[in-house]
């Protein structure tokens, strides 16, 4: 089978190539990328137009990408697919469908399932299920400690062999510094990063939102920013001590960004991610006790948004990940204190990222790198590329398509989003991966 993607704006962050061109896909591999025009000194200029299509005799599938952008499938290194154990929140099937709809062709799922993904059997279950039912590629992240309890190291080597690409106790910090030290040391054997959920839970106490004037005004218990900052600093120090590979998840504070920037300058082996909600909305979204805006770490303030944008711009923050955390409606339709934390993020991440391009924080290629190539490189996935001979995992995006965020239309089971009712611009129209074409054009007139 041959697929032709014709006349699209191609963005290839790996080779820093972008320009108008065509892509030939044969047997779900990229056979050829032809640039019709390109920036000086890049690509091979061609201008044969429609004659290009005519050279394929056996009537290929043609996708007209005129006016659209063609880019590598996005890579989300931080999602919660909830399976096994919490299928009422999300399944591998529904979560990966949400992924392809959001332009992602690879997702990395956190181990906080039931049972926890802390051994190769669970890893194998996830991979088997993902192979059979997943709409996109799934890369499991194994637990750092058994049961994510922070006491004994999980079988990292065996999980690595079974297919885990990183280790994290996400949802919970590795509270014990000695265990974190051992994890950073031991994981060096397998070259997989340890992803830190940086939170001092003693400081968090019973907090449910950012600590400050607003938490006092709403009478909600606050989580000080130091709960994140202290743990980021601890883990950076442990990375220096051990030479281990450290990745900081969901950075939400200015001081956190600064600590990572300093560490990178000092040559410490650390990478970091943030999430769209941390650079788009502030704690104000919690007003009126909106549980859809309850997330951990909590939404912060304008100065944090500014610092995170700066961190993205100067590459202190390497990755934009969603921390896609779907929950059942009953878990949000309740008291704020008891409501589950998390945002269903896969279906809004790209347009929220594109706002950064519109604001001039990042250029388009830089954004796409943070949403595909960089996470792929951190985890050694060989994704995020448009290369002849490579697997066809790509997304075609209509940058001008404006839409209202309507959670009830999400394909994710999690309808929990604080962006409900917001108008966003830019969304995937076709996602190709795993030997399938997901065409969303019909449902979006």
């Amino acid at each position: 089978m041959i697929i032709l993607i014709v006349n699209g704006h191609i963005i290839d962050p790996r080779n820093e190539m972008y320009g108008l061109g065509d892509i030939v896909i044969e047997n779900w591999k990229i056979k050829e990328i032809r640039y019709r025009e390109s920036k000086p000194g890049q690509g091979n200029p061609e201008s044969e137009g429609d004659s290009f299509v005519q050279q394929f005799p056996e009537s290929p599938e043609i996708i007209d990408a005129s006016g659209l952008y063609v880019m590598p499938g996005l890579v989300d290194m931080h999602v919660h697919l909830r399976e096994p154990g919490y299928e009422y929140k999300e399944t591998i099937k529904s979560g990966t469908m949400a992924a392809v709809r959001g332009g992602f062709t690879s997702v990395c799922c956190m181990p906080d399932t039931k049972p926890v993904n802390d051994n190769e059997t669970v890893t194998e279950f996830i991979l088997r299920k993902a192979y059979a039912e997943g709409a996109c590629y799934v890369y499991p992240i194994g637990a750092v400690t058994k049961g994510q309890e922070g006491r004994e190291l999980a079988e990292m080597g065996m999980m690595r062999e079974a297919g885990c690409v990183a280790f994290s106790d996400d949802g919970m910090p590795v509270k014990n510094s000695l265990i974190m030290r051992r994890a950073l040391e031991y994981s060096r054997t397998f070259g997989a990063p340890v992803i830190s959920h940086a939170e001092d839970i003693d400081l968090t106490a019973c907090g449910v939102m950012n600590e400050g004037y607003l938490s006092t005004l709403l009478g909600l218990k606050g989580i000080p920013r130091e709960a994140e900052v202290i743990m980021i600093k601890r883990d950076i120090d442990l990375a220096l001590l051990t030479g281990g590979r450290l990745h900081i998840a969901h950075v939400s504070t200015e001081e956190g960004v600064n600590a990572i920037r300093e560490a990178k300058r000092a040559g410490i082996n650390v990478t970091a991610e943030t999430c769209p909600h941390y650079f788009t909305i502030t704690e104000d979204a919690v007003k009126d006790y909106n549980t859809d805006a309850k997330v951990n770490p909590p939404l912060r303030t304008e100065k944090d948004i500014a610092a995170i944008k700066e961190g993205l711009s100067d590459d202190t923050i390497d990755v934009i990940a969603t921390d896609h955390a779907p929950h059942h409606r009953d878990e949000k339709l309740c008291e704020f204190d008891s409501a589950a934390s998390g945002i269903s993020g896969l279906e809004t991440a790209l347009p929220l990222g594109l706002k950064l391009v519109e604001e001039g924080v990042l250029d388009l290629s830089h954004l796409i790198r943070k949403m595909s190539l960089n996470p792929s490189d951190i985890l050694g996935l060989d994704r995020g590329v448009l290369r002849e001979g490579s697997d066809a995992a790509l997304v075609i995006v209509d940058m001008d398509s404006e839409f209202e965020v309507e959670p009830e239309k999400f394909v994710s089971k999690g309808k929990n989003t604080p962006f409900k009712g917001m108008y966003l611009k830019g969304r995937p129209v076709v996602t190709i991966c795993k030997g399938r074409i997901y065409d969303f054009r019909a449902e979006r007139p």
Binding site: L214, T216, G219, L220, Y289, E335, F336, D337
Partner: protein, 312 residues
């Protein structure tokens, strides 16, 4: 004007001086009613008040019950013991059930902030916040203001100190909003562990030193110290709290001549307040209790009663 123009009383936040005065003036009328031999008026006859208490409370619940009965409503008391270990039906299901009874008022107390707001969104009944988490306890603030007005006659420039666990006190929060709106000069007297974040933006002066904080004040509002605060690391011991922040006769003497002492109850005698002070002529603690009924009558009376009775 005989209405507050709002369906629910969720907090003092957002109330205007005019609205607060309307409650106080209306309450004065009801207080006269309470002095009569027959203490009941038919103002809300046929209406139903549902007291929904998710936290143990005797005083507030009784006060609301009495207020509702004095207005000739039918009152139902519903107490739900909440514990994190006992997981009963969801809050939404409880509200829907009550909604189906066709009640006119829901008086709600809950340990979680924002629950009255949640109920107001999901119910046609008028919701009255009887204390939510560490957020607000608006009727307590209104009855405190009523008591101060009776005793002092004015608010503008009146020096008032609130002493104790401000961080966890919904009474303190509502009083801060209320008394600031009325123009009083407010002081917070508390150890730093009990001072909430961002308090500077609330227009109050913070004193860690009780002796300094109580100097020349006209009104002292004491808050109850909960014993479990020691476990959270907020206080070393109640003895230590008592020594540094407890209201003794000596500390009371630092206040202005004729200063009044208030306490929302229940008191920990010997901890935050000494018996000599609680039982002194400066204390208006029992009058607060009396005024609570009149103020709650006023609140129930003044909320918009726009609910259309469902025809079955």
């Amino acid at each position: 004007m005989s209405s507050l123009g709002i369906k629910d009383l969720l907090g003092i936040k957002g109330l205007s001086r005019k609205q607060i005065y309307l409650v106080l003036d209306t309450a004065a009328g009801f207080k006269d009613v309470l002095k009569r031999d027959i203490k009941k008026v038919p103002a809300l006859r046929g209406k139903t008040v549902f007291n929904l208490f998710f936290e143990p409370s005797t005083r507030t619940r009784t006060s609301f019950e009495l207020a509702a009965k004095r207005l000739s409503t039918d009152v139902i008391n519903f107490s739900v013991p909440t514990s994190s270990f006992v997981k009963g039906e969801s809050l939404l299901d409880t509200i829907r059930t009550i909604e189906s009874y066709g009640v006119d008022y829901i008086v709600i107390r809950h340990s979680s902030s924002g629950v009255p707001h949640f109920i107001a969104r999901h119910s046609h009944a008028s919701v009255v916040n009887a204390g939510d988490g560490i957020n607000e306890h608006p009727t307590q603030a209104l009855l405190d203001a009523f008591t101060i007005k009776e005793k002092k006659g004015y608010f503008e420039g009146l020096k008032i100190a609130i002493v104790g666990d401000i961080l966890h006190s919904r009474v303190a929060k509502s009083n801060i909003y209320c008394l600031r709106e009325l123009g009083a000069e407010l002081r917070i007297v508390a150890p730093p562990t009990f001072v909430p974040h961002g308090i500077d933006s609330f227009g109050v002066e913070v004193y860690f030193d009780a002796d300094k904080g109580l100097k020349d004040v006209d009104v002292i509002m004491m808050l109850r110290i909960q014993n479990e605060r020691q476990e959270g690391g907020f206080l070393p011991s109640s003895d230590e709290y008592s020594r540094f922040w407890g209201l003794t006769e000596e500390r009371l003497a630092r206040a202005s001549q004729g200063a009044v002492v208030m306490h929302p109850g229940p008191m920990n005698r010997g901890v935050e307040i000494m018996s000599e002070v609680a039982d002194s002529t400066s204390s208006v603690i029992l009058e607060q209790v009396t005024n609570g009924v009149a103020v709650r009558m006023a609140v129930l009376y003044l909320l918009n009663r726009t609910r259309v009775t469902k025809h079955v």
